[in-house]
Amino acid sequence: MQDKELRKIWESINEFELIDLDKENLNREVKEHSASIEKKIVGRNRLEIIVAVFMMPVAAFIAYLHPSFLAKTGALLMFPYLFLVIYKLLAARKGRKRVEEFSDNLEFLKHSLSYYQNEKQLLDTVFYWYVLPCIPCVAFILLGSGLSGFKLVYAGAITIGMSYLIVRINQLTVERKIEPLIKRLKSEIETYNS
């Protein structure tokens, strides 16, 4: 088989399909949908940050209203903790380029690899920047809330259970989704260079 013949087969796929563009409405539709997708992406990226920001007035409310010194301390400690969370999330999402910005395929692959490696690092260390700094805040609030005996143990157990769940979910995301992608991207980049 010759190259020419191969090209003929390759091009003949279009003989079996008709792609019709409604030129009257295409620009308007693309514009509308593009804006809505953009909104969705921004919303999804900001959701965790919005939750963190939303927690601030809640913490301020507890600090203002609760008579206990321990609960006030816990609530006030929430502020640096929430700032840390927001900073980590913003830093992780910074620098994500759009697909059309890459000068070539290889650059796109390398950028994707570095993005997923950052994501992996962020999720791998979620215990240290998300869970651990939150524990003293919650502990102070619980101790200052007047709970005692079984109720205190119960609340503590729920906190520990939730913390474990957060860490485990992130671990599973890394193991099942991010690591296979990193592996595939590395192997693709290698084939480009081989």
């Binding site: 796929i13 399909e17 295409l26 991207l185 693709e188 480009y192």
Partner: protein
Amino acid sequence: MEVAIEEVFLELLGDNKAQISRICSVYAQDEDEKKDLFQEVAFNLWKSLPSFKGNSALSTWVYRVTLNTCMQARFKVNRHESAHVRLKSIHFESIKQSDDDTGKQERIALLYTCIRKLNDADKNLVMLFLEDLPYKEIAFITGVTENHVAVRMKRVREKLFNCLK
């Protein structure tokens, strides 16, 4: 977006729809995914057209955006997440085949199967080669040297012909 750019976009998509569709077909797992990919390419072209600097031919740039969009879909954390609402202004229609076309369709299917067996780097090279682009342009789109393209194409072509035998 200015009216002039809107016109360029329509012309660009109209002129390149067949090429975009061929490439999307290789990357997509089914017809629906192909339509999603085609639409995604259209979005990306529309978004980035105003910032096109003109350091390559428009058609070369379309290939680059198309390949990057298709590859991005492969490297998404949630690949099977459906893209978005299907645009009404892009219609896909299958043309009924006659009995004479069966052989042709089989050959197309075999070619696609063989290309899909390749890794992404080789897949991209082959598709651009089949699009009849010169090695210089293929090198520009993929990010490897012209020499590298030539050496690699020799190997990939052999693989492809063996598969098609």
